[in-house]
Symmetry: C2
Subunit: 103 residues, 2 copies
Amino acid sequence: MLTIDCLEIFKALSNEKRLEILQWLKEPHRYFSCADGMDFEKYGVCVGLIQKQSGLTQSTVSEYLAILKKAGLVESVRIGQWTYYKRNEKVFKELSRIIKTNI
Amino acid sequence: MLTIDCLEIFKALSNEKRLEILQWLKEPHRYFSCADGMDFEKYGVCVGLIQKQSGLTQSTVSEYLAILKKAGLVESVRIGQWTYYKRNEKVFKELSRIIKTNI
DNA sequence: TTGGGATATCGAGATAATCCGATATATCTT
DNA sequence: AAGATATATCGGATTATCTCGATATCCCAA
């Protein structure tokens, strides 16, 4: 069962940088270099890479990712000292459906 | 050709009352009484009715409708001293499509 | 177990959104 | 032309968001 809070999602999407981050996470191989053979598909992208790409401070990126996560748009997994974030495509599909039929 | 500014749309949708207003405009007959035989389908709903339903002040409602209009989510027509607002369903469909494929 | 690196949280100043009352504008009626 | 009604715009107080630097937490390696 997938319940989503549209207001919270819209607020999360109301920021240029957060929209950018979601674009990057959509095609990690295109936007991030994967020197050490990290499997983007499996775990996502770690905060440090996103931070470098964004030009924002580490704390801001961490908070933005938390906002996206709280809205359900991304999910994260901690592996060692790294936290990997990836998109939760189900939520995007559901949001698309709700906008078409309910909003 | 239909170009939409997703960031502006998400900001417009990041407000509980504005989401409510969009719901009301989706089914005017359900939420507004139509004593004088006004054709909601054709022109939409006038600001005064929306204002009464909302519990907000006239100025706030007017501003909120302007925000929704600037984002393209509603369109308006002035008839005499009344301005009627109705949803622009094409924009909702397009937003739904973009979220599914591009966001 | 201590030092270092990755991430999260905290506190704060700057900027933007919220929402109101007052006022301006546009239109209709008389 | 004047008054009344509907809507839009303006100015401002309050609240929320943005974004940072500083600090705390968590985990790995030596």
